[in-house]
């Protein structure tokens, strides 16, 4: 694709059942009723000059540039605010209009610097374009409008600048921040010609304001007043490639705008169905890690982990690795080998890693980091509905009347979806938040939760059972739906169970700490408020009852009939970009792609025939079991693609012991991550900008990832896996991920209709795509569940064994924040650190005071497992007795304190509940200092070439 800016039709698309036909400049045009005259003109090929309109925002009608003449109407109405009418006759170019527009333009230009030749907009400026369109030749007012000229730029944001002298006060930025992002950080200060755009209070700059750096205002700005610093640095892009964000499960699509091999900027793609033209600070701006100096681009090996690394050729690295793997297999058998697929890599790469483990190593010891996040979703939704995925597309939220958010913090972890959700809430949908912490969504500009249930961490099942109690005992269940779609006997068993007085909100209040009346009101609202949609995250899954909670959520949705149409459903908000895909691709030790058990003979035979090898019919080891087996001496080698289990998995000491016990640890990553401290082989990886493939987001949407630059390490990740397979003699010969995708489609019924060509044509597909759903399925279970009848499961509340007591009186829960991503390997290597330089511990004022802690003090955080130190932030966002931190920084190693407890069904670790004590401290703990020493030692590279 060459470089063309994205089309802008001036005002948003309107959906209407009726069509209207009018005449514009002699052309007959038919558009949906309610469309603006401007959009009707633009979509039919006759653009009208405009400044304050853009199609991501409601029309505003302030600039008076878009005036038109309409037969039978007096004056010259603004085309952006005038809706079409049947048989209307519009003229967009007349001598009168030209004169009026030129007059308006003269006013703008009189207060605008005329340094177009040196302006960083580099001709990518709507003011310049419009001036040319209206044929501006002269400015009668002179060029000395002193209102904006000479004002100093605001350079505080690391990624974009605000140059007030270039601002024409069209307020597109203000409206973008309000309407698209929902943060309301900007305002217009002053009036008339003297009005100015301002971030927050008078003294605020962008960085210190409420701005979350989503970039919506930058995208909306018609001039270079708000502009990416990278455009100023590198110049105007020359070409654009559509690709998919590699950070979170929202799966925003972007135009990677390039100048040669240089990425100039990432601009959200308006046609992207997941993001609809919006973005967050991570995908939009935090791609600098691709060129960070820490990136390793040469393979490295070492005999043992106490030696320095040795840089070697790919051939030598692969031969060394294959030699070790073969020797281990010969001595200890195939079941001593395993691998971990990455939720950050593409579907094709993930599929190849599990194929390497199953067909090449000969074991089913393959797992993925979804183990530590959404494995309970897999178990719970498969058990109740029959397949393991969210039921809705993101658009569905715009039809929801009641939104129930449990254990998720969308504004931080899924920001672009959160903006959609907030838009719907501003339209009047009601919100219920179930979370121990007062997340931002509970109260933000123009959004106020109807109910916030601040439950005690670890009591999700009790809260959901109490809600079910209210729904059943008050007769609010949708029994018609249940009789029609679910197993009625199972429903009755469940209904009997939840109706027990011991499951009433009043009885359970002692456990949940949620006021019963509030819980009752929330349950009534969910059951009777119209379309009820549930969105949940890791606060549901990362518990010893994670799978039970997922099933309890599914029960609630089925009992109230909130399944099978837009606006309802059960929606896991996936953490990493391709968690859904990694799970779909057969990354679990008991499942082949498409969630089919390895013991299923027919499925296994299909794979065996395709791959030409016999497969082990027994389930393999999960990550924690691999580490146990390593300590026991029965698990010896692991290939880890794109994951940092030492930092991301619970009980760091245990992970370290497991890794240290292995004979061959192969880390395939961008950076020498924490896990690489225990590795024998380091295979350099490629970023999402350097590879082709597909990601699948939280709405099951499969979207292409496209290579925009050559891999710095020379190979895309799937090529590295293939080279390793071939070093082991497997003879793979893929030349493009499209061929791997064909293999996936051939072997996976839910992907049968997916191909690279089709994705090139249609941009995205939501699985299942097969004979039954030829174009995919935005909403699942419209006509019935995959397993036939929906399955009600009685979910008993089994409290965690992790208990508070006199020594560890507080409950620690963990989470993430907007600007950082997971273990932070990428975001810490970008300017996003401006917002989150270190992990801090949130503690309630009462608990802080009891311990003599003040804001910013160092504190020791200790559990039965370990201890670390970090600074505290004193806030009533957390309840007394609860503390909270993030896990983005290796220096903190929050997982030193988390325990081995895990979900009963899937071993998903219980990150969300750890009994801890917090005491004052004067700096980093011994472990942190020892660890820093180990890291420095194990990162040595022999004879490092001079930089």
């Amino acid at each position: 694709m060459g470089y063309e800016p994205q089309a802008d039709f001036g005002t948003p698309e309107v959906r209407a059942d009726t069509q209207v036909t009018l005449t514009i400049d002699g052309r007959s045009v038919t558009v949906p009723a309610g469309t603006s005259v401007m959009r009707a003109a633009t979509t039919s090929g006759g653009a009208i000059p405009s400044l304050c309109a853009t199609d991501s925002l409601a029309a505003f009608g302030s600039c008076r540039m878009c005036l038109v003449e309409v037969e039978g109407m007096r004056g010259t109405p603004a085309s952006c605010t005038t809706p079409v009418a049947q048989d209307m006759i519009v003229r967009t170019q007349t001598p009168r209009l030209e004169k009026l527009r030129r007059g308006v333009m003269e006013l703008y230009i009189s207060d605008h610097p005329l340094d177009c030749l040196t302006c960083s907009a580099n001709n990518d400026c709507e003011l310049q374009d419009t001036a040319a369109e209206v044929g501006l030749r002269d400015v009668r007012y002179g060029y000395a409008g002193a209102h904006h000229l000479g004002q100093q730029p605001d350079l505080s944001n690391p990624y974009f600048l605000f140059a007030p002298d270039k601002c024409i006060v069209c307020s597109r930025c203000v409206r973008a921040c309000d309407e698209v992002q929902g943060t309301l950080a900007l305002s217009v200060e002053g009036r008339g010609f003297a009005s100015k755009i301002s971030a927050g209070q008078r003294a605020d700059d962008f960085l210190s304001s409420d701005c979350v750096s989503c970039g919506a205002c930058v995208q909306a700005c018609p001039t270079s007043a708000l502009m990416e610093k990278s455009v100023k640095e590198h110049g105007k892009p020359e070409r654009a490639v559509i690709t998919t964000c590699a950070y979170c499960g929202v799966g925003c699509t972007f135009r990677a705008e390039m100048r040669g091999e240089q990425l100039v900027r990432m601009v959200p793609w308006k046609d992207g169905k997941a993001n609809r033209g919006h973005s967050c600070v991570k995908g939009r701006f935090a791609w600098g890690y691709a060129h960070h100096q820490d990136r390793i681009t040469t393979p490295m090996i070492r005999e043992s982990v106490d030696q320095p690394w040795r840089e070697v050729s790919w051939d030598e690295a692969l031969a060394f690795t294959a030699g070790r793997i073969s020797a281990i297999k010969a001595q200890h058998g195939a079941r001593a080998l395993g691998g971990i697929t990455s939720s950050r890599c593409t579907n094709e790469e993930t599929f190849l890693v599990q194929k390497l483990v199953r067909a090449g190593f000969g074991s089913n010891n393959v797992d993925t980091c979804a183990r530590v996040c959404h494995s309970p979703t897999g178990y719970g939704l498969k058990t109740t509905f029959g397949t393991s995925a969210g039921t809705q597309d993101f658009d569905s939220v715009m039809d929801a009347d009641v939104i129930l958010v449990i254990g998720a913090n969308p504004t931080d972890a899924h920001p672009v979806f959160a903006s959609r959700m907030k838009r719907r809430l501003r339209q009047g949908a009601q919100l219920i938040v179930i979370d121990p912490r007062r997340i931002d969504l509970v109260r933000s500009p123009h959004v106020q939760a109807a109910h916030h249930l601040p439950l005690q961490p670890g009591t999700n099942v009790a809260v959901l059972t109490a809600m079910a109690h209210v729904i059943v005992t008050e007769g609010l269940a949708d029994e018609d739906f249940v009789r029609d779609r679910c197993d009625w006997d199972e429903y009755q068993d469940w209904a009997r169970f939840v109706s027990d007085p011991q499951h009433s909100p009043e009885f359970l209040e002692a456990v949940t700490k949620v006021p019963a009346a509030e819980l009752r009101a929330a349950a009534r609202l969910y059951a009777t408020g119209g379309n009820g949609a549930i969105y949940y995250g890791l606060g549901v899954t990362e518990h010893s009852q994670g799978s039970s909670t997922v099933m309890a959520i599914a029960n609630l949705a089925m009992a109230t009939g909130n399944i099978g149409r837009p606006g309802v459903g059960v929606n896991p908000l996936r953490g990493q970009n391709n968690v859904q895909g990694a799970c779909d691709m057969g990354s679990f030790p008991h499942e082949l792609s498409g969630y089919r058990h390895i013991s299923d003979g027919a499925t296994r035979t299909m794979f065996e025939q395709d791959w030409g090898v016999a497969l082990d019919p027994e389930p393999g080891l999960r990550i924690p079991n691999m580490l146990d087996a390593a300590v026991d001496g029965t698990f010896k080698a692991i290939y880890i693609q794109g994951e940092d289990i030492l930092q991301s998995d619970p009980n760091t000491h245990h992970v370290a012991a497991g890794l240290a016990a292995m004979d061959c640890v192969i880390v395939h990553d961008l950076f020498l991550n924490e896990t690489a401290n225990y590795a024998h082989v380091f295979l350099p990886g490629s970023t999402f900008l350097e590879k082709n493939g597909t990601f699948t987001n939280a709405e099951r949407r499969i979207q292409p990832v496209r290579k925009v630059m050559e891999p710095a390490n020379g190979l895309e990740d799937w090529q590295v896996t293939q080279a390793l397979a071939n070093a082991l003699g497997l003879g793979w010969a893929y030349t493009h991920p499209a061929q791997i995708l064909d293999e996936i489609a051939r072997l996976t019924p839910t992907f049968a209709g997916v191909s690279w060509d089709r994705l090139e044509r249609e941009a995205s597909l939501q699985w299942p795509v097969n004979d039954q759903f030829p174009d995919g399925a935005p909403v699942m279970y419209v006509d019935g569940f995959v397993r036939g009848k929906g399955h009600f499961v009685v979910t008993d509340y089994v409290p965690t064994d992790e208990k508070t007591g006199p020594r560890y009186p507080l409950l620690l829960t963990t989470g993430r924040i907007l600007s950082q991503y997971n273990v932070g390997a990428q975001t810490r290597r970008t300017a996003n650190t401006a917002w989150h330089p270190e992990d801090v511990l949130e503690i309630h004022p009462l608990d802080a005071e009891n311990r003599g802690l003040k804001e910013g003090d160092w504190a020791r955080l200790a559990s039965r497992t370990g201890e670390t130190s970090l600074r505290v932030s004193v806030t009533d966002r957390v309840a007394p007795g609860v503390v909270y931190t993030t896990f983005h920084h290796p220096e903190t190693q929050a997982n030193v304190v988390t325990t081995d407890y895990s979900d009963w069904a899937t071993n998903c670790p219980e990150y969300k509940v750890t009994a801890v004590q917090v005491t004052p401290s004067n700096g980093p703990s011994d472990w942190q200092e020892d660890y820093a020493g180990l890291t420095a030692r194990s990162r040595r590279i022999a004879a490092e070439p001079a930089e």
Binding site: R335, N364, N365, F497, S544, Q545, S548, P589, H590, H597, S599, E618, P619, G620, L621, R622, N625, D628, A629, V631, D632, T634, V794, D796, V798, D900, W904, A905, T906, N907
Partner: protein, 70 residues
């Protein structure tokens, strides 16, 4: 008992405890099924071979069932 054995017993008990609400007979069958579906063979062998003293009644029932027809 090794650390791993303790862990396996803990896991079996935890699974059994979550199925217990369905009644002993169903819970024993469900626990056995779960272990068969999700545990690697060496884990199953270890729990079959190991000391069962720490197992709950349901978990012990499930392990006995696996022993009878592994």
């Amino acid at each position: 008992m090794s650390g791993t054995q303790d862990r396996l017993v803990y896991m079996a008990n935890q699974i059994a405890r979550n199925f217990a609400v369905q009644g002993e007979a169903v819970a024993i069958a469900a626990t056995a099924r779960h272990i068969l579906d999700f545990w690697d063979p060496r884990m199953r062998e270890a729990i079959l071979a190991g000391d069962r003293a720490g197992l709950s009644d349901i978990a012990a029932g499930a392990i006995a069932r696996l022993q009878a027809s592994p």
